[in-house]
């Protein structure tokens, strides 16, 4: 069977095994999310029965209505959207500026400065948490949108990502623009920003999702209920209404859906970001 020019007909078993394993793993991955949706549509009390049910006996949207009318989740949805959009827009600009400068502009000590910045990646963000809170308190930014937005306006990771991409832009293009008399500002605005579009889109999705999902810092800096982002509101709600399982699940669905849709729509850019961030240099 091993010999002969014709390849032996492969056994069907390995293929079956590989695909069965994939289907099983996919089911295990999806069950928590599907059950979350299913329970959010159950009439009150149906989630607390034994043995647990997989599907609602009758589909109802009452919990989603309750979230918006009784629990004012619309406000938190707005807060989360505003904060995540502001962080994304501002940090995109500042990271693009710095990333481009590190990649393409020639100044003394550039690579040493960039190395120092990368070394800061070992410092866990939690180390800065307590003093950062005191700083924000001193600046009067505790319990404001700015308190969440300001510390996130630039990031080492974002600068790194833009630099990695900008390194591949041809120097000749910049030199030609300079010979034509373009100012450095103009080169950045009209040449670099458009060329960096793919990496900026990647970074935008990364930043938006990370800000939307962030828990620790908003938990620390936002103390007034009306300022909460969705994750903080959900965490509080799950403490107070922990018996209203169906309501909690509806809240979880509402928190996850926007980011999940965004990811599915722009998946390619997100995954490119992971790869750009993990290549060895």
């Amino acid at each position: 069977m091993r010999r002969g020019a014709a390849r032996p007909r492969p056994s069907r078993w390995p293929a079956l095994l590989v695909n069965a394993a994939l289907v099983l793993a996919a089911a295990a991955t999806l069950v928590p999310l599907l059950w979350m949706v299913s329970v959010s549509l159950m009439p009150t009390g149906e989630a607390n029965v034994f043995p647990p049910a997989f599907l609602p006996s009758r589909v109802t949207f009452e919990h989603y209505r309750a979230l918006f009318s009784r629990l004012a989740l619309g406000r938190y949805l707005l807060n989360s959207t505003l904060i995540a959009s502001a962080v994304t827009l501002v940090s995109l600009l500042l990271n693009a500026m710095a990333g481009y400068a590190f990649a393409k502009l020639r100044f003394a000590g550039r690579d040493r400065l960039f190395g120092l910045l990368l070394a800061a990646l070992v410092i866990p963000t939690q180390v800065a948490l307590l003093p950062l809170f005191l700083l924000m308190r001193w600046l009067g930014l505790v319990n404001t949108y700015w308190g969440v937005v300001v510390p996130a306006m630039a990031s080492v990771f974002g600068i790194f990502l833009v630099r990695q991409f900008a390194l591949s832009l041809p120097d000749e293009l910049l030199d030609a623009a300079r010979i034509d008399g373009a100012s450095e500002l103009r080169i950045f605005r009209s040449l670099i920003l458009p060329l960096c579009r793919p990496v900026l889109l990647t970074l935008a999705i990364f930043t938006f999702l990370a800000t939307w999902n962030d828990f620790t810092w908003p938990l620390v800096v936002l103390s007034d209920g009306s300022m909460y982002t969705l994750p903080i509101a959900l965490s509080n709600l799950s403490g107070e209404h922990f018996r209203d399982t169906e309501l909690m699940m509806a809240g979880a669905v509402l928190t996850i859906t926007p980011v999940l849709l965004l990811f599915i729509a722009l998946q390619r850019y997100y995954i490119e970001g992971i790869l750009l961030g993990s290549v060895k240099e």
Partner: protein, 317 residues
Amino acid sequence: MSGDRAAAAAAGARGAAARRGVPAEARAALWLLAPGLAVIGVFFLLPAAAALLLSLTDFDIYALADLGNLRFVGLGNYRRLLADPIFWTALRNTFYFAFVGGPLSVLVSLVAALLLDSRLARWRGLFRTVFFAPVVTTLVAVAVVWRYLYHPRFGLLNRFLGWVGLPAIDWLGDPRWAMPAIILLAVWKNFGYNMIVFLAGLQNVPATLYEAARIDGAGWWRQLRHITLPMLAPTFLFVAVITMIGYFQLFTEPYVMTRGEGGPVNSTLSVVLLMYKQGFRFWNMGYGAAVAFVLFVVIVCVTALQLLLRRRGGERA
């Protein structure tokens, strides 16, 4: 890039200019760098450095009201910390999470990547999206969902256990099972990320290596052991380092699943959760800063150890 001598000379000139700097570009760089670096400096590096100073003081609620009440206590917080059994519990829990959850997470990522990379796999794009979906979900929301999955009576997990004839487990109520429950959630949530990194690594393994091995009669297992895994070594190191650094910062999972307590009987209390409770619930900010700083030192040591072990391994090979 081309063999052209003029281009090489131009590149050489650029290299020299890059080292010395070009005045017009240096001026532009200053303006472009200043905002971003200022934000990182003021809102990250400065507070991180201040944490060290804060940990040498008895900053508490009285100091919060009036800085006149602040006293320098030297290494007092660290001495108190080392004598505090709660701190050691938190440290042990964090090591448990990182050293069991971290490797498990990497292993699941690797298996998922190998399955997806197999030539026999179908609908790869679909499976990849499904496996990745938990990564982009909001941790707080899925922690709420999993808390319910773990419910001893109404949760699905015990129902599945019942199907295969296993007894029900009080996942979050039993101190022996609470940390495994949190590890399971973390693995489910995170494996998709490293899977993507591994997939990229797998695609970089030259196909000719596998062809040669097949001609030599090497089976699936020997190809995995002697080609795939050695070729993945650099990817492995990157994934291991990043995963461990992340896992040492465990906070949100126990916070949401145990309503901010780290229970039952402190079995899921992590170092960061302890820092949070000390700093923001009891306002013992000096003590909390000392906790944070110990975590920093632990992370640096573990990262250095991983890099060192890897270098040793590289020399032997």
